[in-house]
């Protein structure tokens, strides 16, 4: 069968049909995958929250602006039998070795850290990725860390956070992210109380 002639009409028609077919197919696939994508994202978020908080049966979320940084932080207040048991804050820092690091920090109602897990990062495998629980127990030092009395900076910067050898930049950035969460927690304490009593 010979190829179709490249007349103007043929070309335009072909392009329109191809574009229409593609758009239709993609819109369909998009609609089919929209929910699974949402579910996957929500599952990841719920998992992270579960890792940094004690048991809870109710979650109330709100967004609060930090003092530094342009994006708001998501605060997830957790309740068990109606009692406020803690808040999981999705925080971030742009100071990572490879830029953005996102983390989930769990605080007790008094502002002590329960635990921290990274949500997203592109830090160096073997060095900066020690912020991950599976790669190293470096981040276990944050369990029970009280930013009210201890300083959320790495030791070389005069703080109480142990450094990661050869990955100071990552460690410093991670501390920055946690500090951002804590400072926002402190600054918006009244907003949190209000949400608590809703």
């Amino acid at each position: 069968m010979a190829k179709k002639e490249s007349t103007f009409l043929n070309m335009v028609l072909t392009l329109i049909i191809v574009a229409a077919a593609a758009s239709f197919t993609l819109a369909t696939v998009y609609n089919l995958t929209k929910e699974p994508i949402e579910r996957a994202r929500e599952a990841a978020r719920q998992e992270a929250i579960g890792l940094v908080l004690p048991e809870f049966d109710e979650l109330r979320s709100m967004r609060l602006m930090p003092i530094t940084g342009s994006d708001s932080l998501e605060f997830n207040l957790a309740f068990r039998d109606g009692d406020f048991v803690g808040v999981a804050v999705a925080t971030y820092t742009r100071m990572g070795y490879s830029g953005l690091i996102r983390a989930m920090v769990g605080f007790t109602p008094e502002g002590e850290i329960i635990d921290v897990v990274p949500l997203q990062h592109a830090e160096t495998p073997g060095l900066g990725d020690k912020i991950e629980k599976g790669k190293s127990d470096w981040s276990d030092q944050f369990r029970g860390f009280d930013p009210g009395v201890q300083v959320l900076k790495v030791r070389p910067d005069g703080g109480d956070v142990d450094n990661i050898t050869a990955a100071t930049i990552t460690a410093r950035a991670y501390a920055d992210a946690i500090d951002r969460a804590f400072q926002t927690f402190k600054a918006h304490h009244s907003d949190i109380i209000n949400k608590e009593n809703e």
Binding site: T14, V18, A19, V29, A40, R41, T124, G126
Partner: protein
């Protein structure tokens, strides 16, 4: 050519990465581990085979002057489908491969096979060609990923090969270039031996 030859040429003789030097960006960018390399290789194979199929079916309906834009739309559509499906069902791999998933559309391998083969051959041959080149590509990426993972982290597919730290440079950018350089040289030697 016989279909067996058509299929196997993609592994050593005409390996897209080691011989034709196509698709180097993902080859270097995602091969921090054997698993990532394999994942990218299979995703690319899916796009390659799917677009080969569609192109070989519609090839006679497309006026010659608009074939490149049409092929681009076909390939880009399959890339977007791969992107969406991965985000929904393989979130961990989706995160690791990141930017390189949409970049499959500019992988010269995919457009190259559509233009050079699928537009001139029947559907069955195009499928075989797509699978052969795609799996050859996946093979190259898995080998490079495995090499970098073993030397850099002492693991392969996440299983520990030796204790202690590896040579970090291999998981980083320089290691990708250097590792690939030596693998290309190695493939050349193997190829020469096979031909003699």
């Amino acid at each position: 050519m016989g279909q067996l030859k058509n299929f196997t040429k993609g592994f050593v003789k005409d390996n897209p990465v080691f011989v034709l030097l196509l698709g180097l960006c993902p080859a270097l960018g995602v091969t921090t581990s054997a698993f990532n390399g394999l994942g990218m290789g299979l995703a690319t194979t899916f796009v390659l085979v799917s677009s080969n199929i569609v192109v070989s079916i519609i090839k006679n309906q497309i006026p010659s002057k608009v074939r490149i834009p049409s092929y681009i739309v076909v390939i880009a559509s399959f890339v977007t489908i791969t992107d969406l499906v991965m985000e929904a069902y393989l979130p961990a791999l989706f995160e690791s491969l990141g930017l390189f998933i949409p970049l499959i559309v500019v992988n010269c391998l995919v457009m190259g096979r559509a233009e050079a083969f699928a537009s001139k051959n029947n559907t069955w041959h195009s499928i075989v060609d797509g699978m052969g080149m795609g799996l050859g590509f996946a093979f190259a990426l898995t080998v490079l990923g495995g090499l970098r993972e073993i030397l850099g982290a002492g693991e392969i597919f996440g299983w520990s090969v030796f204790a202690g730290d590896g040579m970090l440079v291999f998981v980083l950018a320089p290691g990708a270039f250097i590792g690939l350089g030596y693998l290309v040289a190695l493939n050349n030697i193997v190829k020469k031996k096979m031909e003699s």
